[in-house]
Symmetry: C2
Subunit: 360 residues, 2 copies
Amino acid sequence: MATIYDVAKAAGVSPKTVSRVLNGDAPVNEKTRAAVHAAIGQLNYVPSSAARTMRSQRSGLVGMITGAISTSPHFEPTGLPEIYLVQGAQRVFAEHNLTLLIADTGGHAERVPDLLHTFLEHRVEGILYVAEYHQEVHLPGNLRGRHMVLVNCFDAVGTPCVLPDDEGGQFAVVDGLIGKGHTRIGFLTLPERQAARPHRTEGYRKALAKHGIAFDEDLVIAGAISDVAHEYDLLWDALDRLLRIPDPPTVICCANDKMAMRVYGLLRERGLEIPKDICLVGYDDYRMISEHMHPPLSSVDLPYGAMGARAAAKLIRLISGTSKPNEPSRELVSGPVAWRESVRPRDRVVTPFQTWRRET
Amino acid sequence: MATIYDVAKAAGVSPKTVSRVLNGDAPVNEKTRAAVHAAIGQLNYVPSSAARTMRSQRSGLVGMITGAISTSPHFEPTGLPEIYLVQGAQRVFAEHNLTLLIADTGGHAERVPDLLHTFLEHRVEGILYVAEYHQEVHLPGNLRGRHMVLVNCFDAVGTPCVLPDDEGGQFAVVDGLIGKGHTRIGFLTLPERQAARPHRTEGYRKALAKHGIAFDEDLVIAGAISDVAHEYDLLWDALDRLLRIPDPPTVICCANDKMAMRVYGLLRERGLEIPKDICLVGYDDYRMISEHMHPPLSSVDLPYGAMGARAAAKLIRLISGTSKPNEPSRELVSGPVAWRESVRPRDRVVTPFQTWRRET
DNA sequence: ATGGTTTATGACACCGATGTCATGACATCG
DNA sequence: CGATGTCATGACATCGGTGTCATAAACCAT
């Protein structure tokens, strides 16, 4: 590879002048500048980030640790969120001339220290620590004192973090459903241990309260439990109970799109047609699912791309020291509700529950 | 940050000796080694990759360019494949003490030169160029002469590449279906422009040929076209034609899981139950879809993780110059067929087509 | 005892940028 | 016209490691 000395020689100037042309830190005569640029083109010169890093003590690198946490032995490497996070973050970093280093633990949390060491060798200027789903994490101590932003997770000591606005998302979808005339809104929730669950439930309650609709606990049932083995039975039972209550729901909110996908099948088995007989909404808006279900599934967008971008911006502010003094350490990111054909207004839904109940 | 000089001073040795302890390139006395390690721990020393890079001319970095190609204006950022690729590749790189730089074009191919320049500044030792789906690409000229491996794509000049074994995958699934007694096997193919299509079709033909079953062109219809706007109508029509032929299929192979997902809905609309009345298989094995369909979908695993790992290994061989002299520039990676409940043996399938035809 | 080899260590230069300081050529001003 | 300031450029040291070479001590064989 050509060096700055080669360029200097070819252009008949000193290396320092070439440096000035590249960095614009001092005026350079127009003719000199042209000669230098010509030499650079000729030699295919690309400056060495390593040399620059040594002198300036700035690496231009940021690290991202993903897949770091495997709380469940049935770790499910769906990976979907991460790619959007990466894209969102990388876009922002690129605008600030930062390059993204990526390390994936593959679910083995014990690899984190090693990966971190590698990052430090490369003198990353900051680190994004990404969790698979909204949860609390406990960071290894050697991360202290580094610029860092947690994404999709938070810790007990107030490390800056970016989280999905679960309460806002659930509020928005329930508020929207009520706006379409629904008043009996079933809610198949996440397992109890999930950090998002209380926030989602709070959003559900607040939306009801806004419209003066009483909260009915019969309408809210866990649609999944931590123990994956019995998940399917549980969902069947939860749905069964929802449909058997005296005044059954005209729409069901599922905790995520995967759950909604199964509910499609279960409802069809019972002879219920979506959205004619009952409406359905999901959460996450995995478009690969929601757009291709039949009919397409309404869902709350879990804005991973935006979260990545917001986290990157936050990290850049930390690095550059331009954080506002009272900037909150916790940022919530909202996504829109994607309304699709799985939902129609209440007055166009005809719940044939009596019929169905007679049959079983 | 502590430097090697600080460590040397603290341990009472020369910097070079510290370097030897770190790299093990020459024998060091046991007591000296212990003193050095103690000093390293004390000072929290992490060697600077920048300084090491300058001297040794090896950066320990490899780059990956993803999302580079947007052939379609309706670019669909599913992103699913990439995360597995990243994980697979990163695992192998980590074993070789290489760190992965990631740049995502977000579908804007014109950004590639810039991203590439950044990679070169960091003196990456090799580059993986990843396409969204199996296709031909044309690389910008300035990539020539770099160690590079194409993933999920190939070019006209024989750049080393790693591709999914589309022929083998389709062969395996059709061979398996025939093994289960099926002889009338419908095939909803990819759009014509897709590079994978001829390979898949060849696999389909070879599996039939192996068992002496005649190829029936009525059974093979494009299930999708490039023009996204009419995709759904086309699929409806293709399925309709498949089901109306004199001796209709007992199982249908879909070109991908998204298509299969829609076919679930379309078949149900026609009153056909999977797998009782007709069986279905997909391709890609997006487990988020295949495992959660009702019933779960049989599908050919498109082994992105393995492709990432194979590509990484290939790149490492290029970098280290240990490629076998006659190593093929093109590597095919196969994945297993995931058999699930959407398929059952032929003798347990009761096709009620006569009934259905009377109705319509 | 002596020469040859191995072991353990240090001195020093170098990788390729850039920060600091110095310098010469002009332009401007009182 | 000399003092002062601005512009354009170069010399040199430095960032933190490692390759090369030198050297001293310990070990071994004759």
